[in-house]
Every structure is written in structure tokens, then in C-alpha cells.
Point group: C3
Chain length 334, copies 3
């Protein structure tokens, strides 16, 4: 996969080599993100950070990643203040706004909108989430986190056992992550969800075609010797009736007691921290905050590294970053 | 006209010399906007980009132009979150916010508001559009585009033939552009609009007083040997009755077929891309996108150059920009 | 008080030495704020400027202060677009967003929210106002302004006579300012307010315990030989009934005539310029704009200096700022 000048729109663009290349570059970003060093390799470059749908976390993560490489950020947030809200076509918006920046990150509520926008853009576009469709940087940061967590325990993505819990039917993140995992070897999936929210057959086929194995469970009961427990939210409105929703309420939540009972002591807990709170929905109890295997904040930290890597690769500077190194003189809590 | 330290509030401030000076500086900005070079002449300067009315395109264009000169941008968007919405006077807001920046760009829905704000400001203010009143940077970028397009065909603004189409009565952009064209020689205007939306007498008088000529047409029928076709939107609510609106609906739209029938093969198509979509109103059909004479995206690109020029002139750095040149190391689609 | 790496959450954190240290550093910031010099000491540092409640002035002031030290700003404005609005806990938001920046400034409508946020943050947090609770940078800039205005007249905070006018019961700013003044010597307070909006007993006790003196007045009638007249807004909805509100309407406003009649010719007029306009409520008439003792815009200018000082101290760079000095080449109205 050629990164320089390319759009990053979908996890389907990636093969194993290109993923490993992204992760290799992401590893090199750590000292900059930790403020041990400073680089100005992108001095003068401008990111157009176009969030036509709110997402504070993802928006700030992209902006920070670009700043950490020395670039500037121009931003638009929300639909109501935007040209798009006035009926302007995605093509026109792309033609105009791509004249103002060197690279664009874009979130939009409509599936396919970012790819349509990219057709009109004169600079690379990175998909920051287009509705139910794709959010490739989330999938990459999830996989990058899995790799780092496993390496910490002496493991590897090949041979991984991952438990996915919650809404496996509509969850964009578990689908994308599963696709990426299909590029690796001997992955075991334990898929735990209400029957109504089971993993779609298409993904199951991909898993089988990749030579992986899976088991399906409709309850959190049992002993799961998973390396990773990837938790997602079950939204009550997904069920056919309130009665059915009531049947499942709280059955897929995780707290310290449940974790201790059903998982290994080294099982890493992940969560995409999506549009809704992990706590409101009770899928991850606050009593897990002191659990060292709770990796959800390492995920968001890793997101900065992965986004820095994608910026560096797409703008073709990944091999010259350290030529622009400077010292850091201020206090850093990182 | 003295630029350094001055407000840019109206096209009426400009004489021919000052316009040519702006365009001369704008030409020098091209290598920076194309990312062939990088300058940091405004390193440490802060733009206060105050958009009390939404306009993604103009706002980002100003911000990008300032970044490309090496400056920083502080921004406010929308009225609801602003001090002004809480009843603060323009004078107070100006006194306070001008203490935070080196130059201010401001858009506001009320006519005259930017000039009132400028009275309280301690730094130069550039009008980014104040309701129906003025939007001088749009007029300048329109005229700059005309000059560049004509020069490409070996022509010149003196002797230009421009067709203006659509709402010539309320269209802020055609009024401002006409005023600027009155500073040049031997311009022919072909003014095509519904009778109810004809060019105001005051502008017609200015055109005559400048020694220019005009013809008026109420239909798009005929052979227009114009160098430039400047299209604007006809809003149905401008008519006295729905019946009258129906009478004109679609009569002033441009598509490839109409263009081929009524214009020269080299006629340049322009449009201010204003608050509403060019497509929703059908005034410029998408089938023109492949027409090389469609200059609407060159207009928005030129807007960055003109705004960079105005920043450089107003902050008095136009002659020292290249002293702060740096190399560009990243991929650029520009 | 140790500043490096510390949160700034409350005026209660400060003793006299630490206040004088902040003011000493703020004094050193003046040439940078006036654009006589430029520093890049915070090059590469990122401020997370999180305004979950609108406040254009305070938000831009923080952002500008950080830019003037050479840092970058990532921002979020308003609640509706934020993760917090989606029910995310302050702890989670803090854990995530503190991974993206080197220091955070935060405003939030709820009392105590910023301190709660700080518990989850991995970088220093500066309280930019949390509802009725605290707004320490406002209190510090008020006190800094008092010191500078007094020094201009050859005076000093020790021995100050300050008149406080308006809503002394609910006014966050007068409470905070009073607390800070209790760290100094021999301050005289003249407290002028409707009986219903009198200064709370707790503050009066603090004033007495500090060895200060106060007199209470229910009208603006009299001769007030105050050095400082600190005006705040009386909101009608604070009264028990409309009849009572009517009784007081306009009785605590200040205009040039009232100022001349009741104050010394050198009395400095201050106002926190809070959420509502000074003019709408008529507490400071526009005819005071030409009065050289009107210090309200010097207050907002001083706010930049104080915030720069707090950033420099919290990030531990206050002693090395001038090592990163650069020349300023552009026009500056400052």
C-alpha cells in the first residue's frame, strides 16, 4: 500500500504489511507524544479538521497529533454552521476546502460521505468516521493497542484469543477490528452477545476464511481465557421490544467481580469509548478504574500515535521526522 | 492608500493603484499557497477570526491565509456562544478582543457592525462580510480572478466585457465588483436579470460616469461575447408574488448546453458561492464541473492569495516575507 | 506554593508570597503581550482549552496567552457537541483529554466540576470558572489590576480602600477578590449594596480576622474616598419580589455625574465584565468610556499577563522565557 498522497477511507485498504508499517511508525511517535522530544517536520502544513458531527475526543486527538508533528489545524465543528448544512454538495465543499489545507480529516453522520468528499478533494482525506460505515483510525488504534498489550505480556497478535462482548450486530468497531484481525494468523474469537445482536454471518465467514476459529455465547457466564476482552455497548433500542430489552439489561456489563470470576487475571479490557458513556450504560463499571488491565485510556493515548503515523505516512515524512527534532523545555505530566 | 495599520472595511477605500498593489502582493503569495515555499514572517502574530455569523469557507480561508504567513489563529464562531449575544456592545467587544490579537477578521449579520466594531478596536479590522452591506475581500478576489483569467487568455481588465446574471438588485457581490470595475477603463457590462431584480440606478450611474457602457437583458437568450460570465443566485422570495417567481424559475440557470449556445468557448464562468449552494438553486449545473472555464474553485483558491496579501500589507510585512522563507518537506497535492 | 505541575483551582491555594510571585512573572510578560518581543519557550506545548460553557472573552484570553508563549491551542466550545453532554463522566473525559495536551484550562457550569475533572487529569488544570464556585484567574487579574493602578498613583495594596458595589451576596468575583485581599494589610472595604444582596457574614468575618475594616452602605449616596470602585451587576431576579426590585432599579448604576459627585477624581473604576453586558444593566454608563480611570479594558489586558504567568509557572518555564526571545517584525497596534 502506497501511503503518500493517498486517502485513508476504509480498513479494507490495509494488508498485513501496511498495518505493520503503520504500527512501526506509530512506535517511533511515542517519544514525541510523551514530550520527551519535539519535532517540527510538518511546520507550515495545515490540517483541515472537518467534524460535521460532534466528537470531541476524536477531533481533539487528530488535532493534537498534527500539532505534535509541528503542523497547524484549521477546524470546523458541527453541521449547523457549515456550508454543507446550506445544501452545498460534498464535491463542492471538498474542492473548496481542499484548497485551504494539506490534508483533511473528516467526520460526517452519513455512510459513504467521506469517500464522496474524497473524490472532490485535492489533498489526502482521512476518514474520521462516516456514520455506521467506517472509522478506520479507531480500528487501527484498537489493533495497535492489542499488539502493545500483548507484547507487554510477551505475546503477539498471531495466536490471539479475543472475547468481544455486547452489540456485535451493529457495532462498527467490532466489525472493523474483526476485518483487520483476519489479516493475522490463528486468532480465536469468543463472541458474547444477546442472540438478537449476534455477529453478522458475513463477518463470521471472513473469520472462517482467514483460518480463524470462533465460539458464540449468549451469556457472560463461563471461563473465558481470553487475552483481550473487547467490550461494546448494548443499546436497548436495538431490541424488538422493551420486554426483550429488559431480559438482557445488565447481563453484559463488566465490573471487577464479574471480571475476576470469568476472566484471567491478565485479560486486557478494552472499549471503543464511543458516542455514549461507558458508565451510563454500565458496560464498564467504575470499580474497574484501578484495574491495571483496563486499557481504555491507553487506547485513546495510542490513538494519538496511530494518527501521527498516518499523517506522517500520508504526507510522506515518516523517514525524516527526527531531522527536525528539538528539545522540550517545559514540565510534562506525560 | 496606506495599508499598514489600516482597517479594510469597504471596496470604496480602494483606488486603482491600491488594487494593483494588492494584486501584485497576491501574485507573490502563490508559491506559499502552493506549498512550494514556506514563510514564517508572521511568527507569533495572532489573528482574531471572529465569525458571529456562520461561513465555513470564508472563515477557514482567512485562517489558512494567516497560517500560511506563519501566524496563529484564535477563533470564535456563531452568535449564541458569544459575548455579543449577551448584549455586550460592539465597542466593548472590540476594546476587549483587540487586546488579544494583532489583527481581526470579522463577519457579522448586521450592516455597519464591522465598521462600528473597528471604532473600538486597537488593531486593524478586516471586514469579512457585514450583512447586505460589504464583503470587500470577496470583491477583491473576484476582481483578482478576473484579471488572472483574462491574463491567461492574453487580456486585461481594461476593455473587459462582463456579463452579470441573476439577482443584480440585492446581490452584494455584483454591486461591489461593479464599483471596483469603475476604477478601470472601457468595461462593457451585459446585465441579465428579471426586471424586478435589475441593477440599481446608482450602480448604473457609476458605470456611466466611469465611461463604461452597459446593455440590459431580461433573458439569457442571445449571443453574449462576454469574457466573463458572473452568475449569481435568484432567490424566489425576492419576487412580489409566487406567480411572478414561477414565471422566471430556471430562466437564469446555466448548464453546459446553455453555455455553449449563448457564450463564447472561452467565456470564464464565475460565481460567488455565497450562502446557498450553487446547485440547490440550479444556477450552475453540475455538468459544468468538467468545463475548464468554470473558475469558481479558482476563485476560492485566489481568495487565499488575496487575504494573505491583505494581511501582509495591513501588518506591513509585504516586502520582507521572503526573508523568512523555509523549505517545504511534506507531500503537497497543491 | 509550588506551581510546577500543580492545578490552579481556587483562590484559597494562594498565600501572599505566591500571589506576589505570580504578579512578578506577569510583569515580565508585558513586553511579549505588547509585541515588543516574541518568545517561543512553549514551542510544541499544547493547551487543551475546554469551555463547556460559553465565554468568548475568557476562552480567547487563555488561548492568546498560550500562543504568546509559543504554544498551540486545541479547543472545545459548548456542551452540546461534547462527550460530557453524552453522559461521559468528568473522570473519563479528564483521563482521555489530558492525554492530548500539556495543560488544560476548563470552564464548566457546575460548581466543583473542574476540581473533579482535575482528579482524573494527568496534566495541570487551571479553573476558568466553575459556576458559582470559583474563577481564580479573574480574581488574580482583578488584584493585579488593583496593584498596577495603585502603583501608577504611587500606592500599594496594603492600605487600600476599596468600594464594592452591587450584588455582594451572589457575586463570585467580589467574594474571591475579598479573600485575596485578606492576605494583605490594612484594607478598608466600603460595601454598597441593597440589603437583600449584602456581603455574606463569612466574608465579613474573614475581613475582620485579617485585621481589615469595613463599612456598609445601602445607597450610593455619600462621599467615598475609595482608591478603587469595584462595580458588579445587580440582577433583578435576585430580589424576593418585583416590587423590591423596582425599589432598587438604577440605584447602583454608575455614570460620569454620579462618579464625580461621590468619588475622588482618581478613583479607579473596575468591573468583572461578567456574563452580561455592563451596559444592558446600566451599571456602568457609556459616558464613562472617556474617563481615564475606567480600568475595565486594562483589566482584560492584564488578564492575558496573569494567564501567561500562570502557564509559565505551572509548566515551570518562568525563568527561561527570555532564552527563546525573537524579534517582532510586523505592525503592532499594541
Amino acid at each position: 500500500m502506497k501511503f503518500e498522497g493517498s486517502h485513508i477511507l476504509s480498513v479494507n485498504q490495509f494488508d498485513r504489511d501496511s498495518i505493520e508499517h503503520v504500527f512501526h511508525v506509530a512506535n517511533q511517535m511515542a517519544p514525541y507524544a510523551k514530550r520527551q522530544k519535539r519535532t517540527t517536520v510538518l511546520d507550515g502544513a495545515i490540517l483541515g479538521n472537518l467534524f460535521f458531527e460532534p466528537s470531541t475526543r476524536t477531533r481533539v486527538s487528530f488535532g493534537t497529533a498534527f500539532n505534535l508533528l509541528g503542523g497547524e489545524v484549521r477546524e470546523t465543528t458541527g453541521m449547523s454552521n457549515s456550508a454543507l448544512a446550506k445544501g452545498e454538495s460534498l464535491y463542492d465543499t471538498a474542492r473548496v476546502l481542499s484548497g485551504y489545507s494539506d490534508i483533511i480529516t473528516m467526520r460526517h453522520p452519513d455512510s459513504g460521505s467521506v469517500a464522496e468528499f474524497a473524490l472532490g478533494s485535492r489533498v489526502p482525506v482521512i476518514n474520521g468516521g462516516d456514520g455506521a460505515n467506517e472509522h478506520p483510525t479507531q480500528a487501527l488504534l484498537d489493533l495497535y493497542t492489542i499488539q502493545k498489550e500483548l507484547q507487554y505480556h510477551g505475546g503477539n497478535i498471531d495466536g490471539l484469543h479475543i472475547a468481544m462482548i455486547g452489540d456485535l450486530k451493529y457495532g462498527r468497531t467490532v466489525h472493523s477490528l474483526s476485518k483487520l484481525l483476519c489479516l493475522f494468523k490463528n486468532v480465536r474469537f469468543t463472541l458474547i452477545s444477546p442472540k438478537e445482536l449476534a455477529m453478522p454471518d458475513a463477518i463470521l465467514s471472513s473469520i472462517e476464511n482467514a483460518g480463524h476459529s470462533y465460539t458464540i455465547s449468549e451469556t457472560l457466564e463461563g471461563n473465558f481465557d481470553a487475552d483481550i476482552c473487547y467490550q461494546t455497548r448494548v443499546q436497548e433500542e436495538r431490541f424488538g421490544s422493551q420486554e426483550e430489552a429488559n431480559l438482557y439489561r445488565g447481563k453484559f456489563r463488566l465490573n471487577q467481580q464479574i471480571y475476576t470470576k470469568h476472566f484471567q487475571s491478565k485479560t486486557v479490557i478494552m472499549h471503543p469509548l464511543p458516542r455514549d458513556s461507558r458508565v451510563e450504560a454500565n458496560e464498564l463499571d467504575n470499580d474497574l478504574n484501578m484495574n491495571p488491565n483496563l486499557a481504555i485510556f491507553r487506547q485513546t493515548d495510542n490513538g494519538v500515535l496511530v494518527r501521527m503515523a498516518l499523517f506522517a505516512l500520508t504526507l510522506g515524512v515518516e523517514s525524516i521526522i527526527s531531522k527536525f527534532d528539538k528539545e522540550v523545555h517545559w514540565y510534562s505530566g506525560h
